[in-house]
Subunit: 411 residues, 4 copies
Amino acid sequence: MEQPQQSAGPEEAGAEAGKPPLRVGMVGYAFMGAAHSQGWRTAGRVFDLPLRPVLTALCGRDAAAVRAAADRHGWATTETDWRALIARDDVDLVDICTPGDSHAEIALAALAAGKHVLCEKPLANTVEEAETMAHAAETAFTTRGRLAMVGFNYRRVPATALARRMVAEGRLGPLRHVRVTYLQDWLNDPEFPLTWRLRKELAGSGSLGDLGAHIVDLAQHLVGERLAGVSALTETFVRQRPLPGGPSSGLAGGAGGAAHGTGTVTVDDAAVFTGRFASGALASFEATRYATGRKNALRLELNGERGSLAFDLERLNELWFHDATEPAVHAGFRRILVTEPDHPYLDGWWPPGHGLGYEHTFVHQARDLVHAIAEGRVPEPSFAEGLQVQRVLAAVEESAEKNSVYTPIAD
Amino acid sequence: MEQPQQSAGPEEAGAEAGKPPLRVGMVGYAFMGAAHSQGWRTAGRVFDLPLRPVLTALCGRDAAAVRAAADRHGWATTETDWRALIARDDVDLVDICTPGDSHAEIALAALAAGKHVLCEKPLANTVEEAETMAHAAETAFTTRGRLAMVGFNYRRVPATALARRMVAEGRLGPLRHVRVTYLQDWLNDPEFPLTWRLRKELAGSGSLGDLGAHIVDLAQHLVGERLAGVSALTETFVRQRPLPGGPSSGLAGGAGGAAHGTGTVTVDDAAVFTGRFASGALASFEATRYATGRKNALRLELNGERGSLAFDLERLNELWFHDATEPAVHAGFRRILVTEPDHPYLDGWWPPGHGLGYEHTFVHQARDLVHAIAEGRVPEPSFAEGLQVQRVLAAVEESAEKNSVYTPIAD
Amino acid sequence: MEQPQQSAGPEEAGAEAGKPPLRVGMVGYAFMGAAHSQGWRTAGRVFDLPLRPVLTALCGRDAAAVRAAADRHGWATTETDWRALIARDDVDLVDICTPGDSHAEIALAALAAGKHVLCEKPLANTVEEAETMAHAAETAFTTRGRLAMVGFNYRRVPATALARRMVAEGRLGPLRHVRVTYLQDWLNDPEFPLTWRLRKELAGSGSLGDLGAHIVDLAQHLVGERLAGVSALTETFVRQRPLPGGPSSGLAGGAGGAAHGTGTVTVDDAAVFTGRFASGALASFEATRYATGRKNALRLELNGERGSLAFDLERLNELWFHDATEPAVHAGFRRILVTEPDHPYLDGWWPPGHGLGYEHTFVHQARDLVHAIAEGRVPEPSFAEGLQVQRVLAAVEESAEKNSVYTPIAD
Amino acid sequence: MEQPQQSAGPEEAGAEAGKPPLRVGMVGYAFMGAAHSQGWRTAGRVFDLPLRPVLTALCGRDAAAVRAAADRHGWATTETDWRALIARDDVDLVDICTPGDSHAEIALAALAAGKHVLCEKPLANTVEEAETMAHAAETAFTTRGRLAMVGFNYRRVPATALARRMVAEGRLGPLRHVRVTYLQDWLNDPEFPLTWRLRKELAGSGSLGDLGAHIVDLAQHLVGERLAGVSALTETFVRQRPLPGGPSSGLAGGAGGAAHGTGTVTVDDAAVFTGRFASGALASFEATRYATGRKNALRLELNGERGSLAFDLERLNELWFHDATEPAVHAGFRRILVTEPDHPYLDGWWPPGHGLGYEHTFVHQARDLVHAIAEGRVPEPSFAEGLQVQRVLAAVEESAEKNSVYTPIAD
């Protein structure tokens, strides 16, 4: 069997149409790296983009592993030093999929090198880092037209995008209540090892930064305003966990213990907090990895004077809407199957009822970022928005440390 | 058509079997009065009780209205002064269905007169009143064997009773999370009038005492332990409301305004609060009358290391259970239709799948109270339990006033 | 403790208001008898009826058992011979809750004696019996103003009554599809005994008459037209079952076998059939007692050009409505919680969201029958409607015997 | 910006590992073509395949259109004549995504040319064609080792694959009931035009072949046995429809009418049928495009003596299981979120709770076909299985024509 001569590969969708490339270099290739790869590979196949994303280079510390990942996910070349990646002329955008402790350093360098940046959430592990990043992004935009975006992908579920549209249209009226939970259960097993996500020096925080960041961003995005303050409780249910087994994990380095000993969890296992939005709506939040049986239950409900919306990420093709302007005799929460051609992002996909999945949020994220870059406008969520989320998380931690006292969010 | 000569009426179920009567006198006949009447009338028809409840006397201030209500609901006689009711020799138990501001006075008098007492929730409008009541109940029991119970009827939904049984059996293991909401929406309309429930001097509090009392009691009952402390936000969204229109409402007297003016809402519209249980579980609560589209959504979920339970009062025949001891490949939240003969309270009712409704909780409440009286043991929830709930509500209010600071619950 | 002198018992609600009585004599006191008792006892307590139902006499063959049942359910007197019951002057209405093989004889005698009749479904075990009954009912009405009704209680779930109203209002437009199942699973256990419901000479048929009658009636009622013809398959999965154990069951007499032997099931275990409505809609039906895990799943869906409705008896307070006249972007099946004051039957019950249960259908049935009697108009469903359902069931059986050939329904 | 030198494109995943290619040529590029493209592009990125799929050539009649489609979907080259495609040496597998009337001709030619074949369902428009195809596939396999598969993709939803596994493990015990519907509503609008899917000469049949083929295959696959016979009704609700507007549609050619006239629908709009499985289970089926509000509701339920399973394609990440071997007090239908690593196909995807979508079935289909080819074994579903489904559909049509008489399925 011979190898065909090909005019284009998938990572060059649009080459024939003369579309200019957007050459992506990505740092990190674990869970988020795989998801982002799928997004970059697919966006140009499904949507008619102004630029064609090219999966130019993948970066990771282990040369063999990154080579295998690049092969698997469709990246043309590899690097083992992110500084080398950033130095390449053939990379237009740096996509940061590493743990939070390295976000700031990489992003700042990439922006300084004139690259666009997509950075996974949370933007950083501290407010200070996030401030520096937001400032750098602002400068890169105003001085060189470079763009930076933070990866709150759940804004780009068609159902949440529809929810945002409906709130903006005034269909809910003045909001009274916002309640959001993000429930997972993978730490329920006390024998689950002490991975990097459980160590404060790497992850910054636990459920709060991992899950809480998502729901704070999503709630503020949907409501269209910011939280004014919060009152919080956090808890670490299981404080000692086994260290990860071997060198292959690559995540246990420096934990200060033998591979078969135990180590101390230094992040929160769960956070529950309440808050107020600027216009007076009450909010409640819960982020946990101990909600037995809930696998990915990002659930939200907004109640306004004219209507309500509800969503559950475990059924992500559905948005529930109650229209209180209808006669009570026929009113009720309706299940909108968000798969119609007029729904956000659905023009590129399948017929009604043929649902999408989790990874499609990354396809949509790539799509929107490509458009923003082509048009030279700041994408949403910007680093400034990522910084503001970081401030909310910091206020949550401060409140939890100060006996739950209501803690205003700094501007 | 002639009137038959009858040997017994429904309020005397068991007379032929020589069962002694339990002669009930009830104060108040609005919503709760109708529900309690249905409970007293029906309990002996469905369950084999040791005493036969007799609907002896109904009490209300308006003679004609109370007479019509007695006729409608099956009460033999009427009184217009609750002191006269308590003075009657032919009343064994006083059932208090009035607004919270009169609970203490009536209950104390009834206990002093040697009556058993059933008192609607919340037990009282203040902790002080509740303390006096709990003390009086204790005295009445130890000195005269009289019994007192508070009407937290939601403990007696078959599904919640099953949940309590399963928690007690250890099926959830150590608890991590308790989240409970009680969502209604009848105040969503700003034109809804200023009824007694919106006036602090009559109702004590708003959503907090009305809905929050239920969920605090139910959560503690299901968990089997007490809240250690809370952190709270409360809000009144609509502060001015029209006064109730005419004399027929009977609820606006003394509001100090013309029938067509407006008055000030002096209670909370909504309360969101978090808390900790003694053993470390995190809890979140929300009580509101502004959750558009939610009519009676008392929703709770308990997450433990071995399993989870979920319930929604709008689908009260269902209990959802996740058994985390099963292999993950076959595990999932299961919908237990709580209509099997072995389920709590179901032995008296219909075949599997033939569901019960809201009012059945009052039938079960009557059943359990009759058994407790026949056996001379303190029924649950006792006035002491009602007092403890009151202390939680007071801590919620205190926290809300003190910038949400975490407020321990007094013992 | 003295017995109070009472002016009225529950079975005489309205006596004080001078309402004339409707004196009921009921034959049979098993499952249906208990349900009807609850209906008669409660209707006048909840609704303002023009007549006050009086539970005058209960009839059963075993004197002690019927006495105990009367005491339990609130019937004033007892009879052991239904002919004696019918002969009583103080009985205005005969309520027939026996197995189907005795419906015709009792109903005909009662109508001949000038009584109103309420007869449980199915109306009879054969079309011939049903024809005689319908004819007798017609004669009793035209000659003496006596009324007869068949007990298809599921028309009186608030949600199905609302569905009927919405279809009649044209909200669904021309109907395309009607699909209805009635799924139970209590015969799933092969050791379940051979009760009367499994013997053709007593029950007439199996799932078909028990469950199929309900869904045929309900479907035709909701659609507002009759089935034109059907094509059917029936099956008996377990043909030999243990005979019921002892004399206490009272249902196995004459089965021709020792109490601990086995006997032959002579009815269908399940029936699946399709059909056409007069105006062209396609229909599918399924009635079974072998749908493992489904306890009382009477599920129906109607699809019309302008909208759809769906209902499940296991969640009987909900009606699902899809309004296809709305823009697709916001359309979806909505859950109408059928507990609003404007919903059918809800004016007498509880606030929104405080749901009803199975037995309330019998309260509503009693209410509607009392109104029909007071107004002298033929109640729905009439015996003529019961006869027509019987004809559909006969056509199902005929089709099943004739290789599923499409079998028109006789007029 | 320079174009990077790439060692591999996505369509060559595995090239570095020395994996041999599987060079695909696809005919047709509408809805199914887009879905298959996504499958071929992605399978090697997510799963570790023994061969690496290469999107070698796309074929369509309009040169410009097929070129644009190839560019969009990642195909290296194009052809405008399917015979030319089949003649190419660099194509190993022909993937047929055209309407049913051309399946037989293309598949037979491709098999004769020594290609593997993947053919969209239904296998053919007639039993005769399907027989020829199945015979050719058998010959191609035995004589040359070439493989043929029919594209019943819904076998490859993780939830349905799990259902099949659970049935095969005996978790349901002897089956009693199988009920399956496939409900869509896109023909509800009478102004929807007369596309090729509504013309018998192109589509073979309507809902029956399009939707009914899926549910017949899926039901037989899950049950693990074949239907013995069926009894059917079919209907065409709207018989005249507007002709498609312009040449751009490409589907109306030769319809014999002006673009703005109307034409006759010559296929069924809906089919409802019942049947028996060989071992005695009763089955009911419904396929329609008029189920208002149902967009892609392939719903199935299996009831066995030991358990039940239920599935709805509109919530494709969920499988509902009732285990009747558990005590009734804790039993209930459980929602298995089919996203665990041990679930079928899930090893390649995301963490638990991060659901998949419709298109993933095509990724899984490509994966399974690649494995079958690498191992030289006949893939499932084979052309023989596709033929048997065709025989069921033919029996449905025959029964519908013969007054619904029960019609055995030919072997």
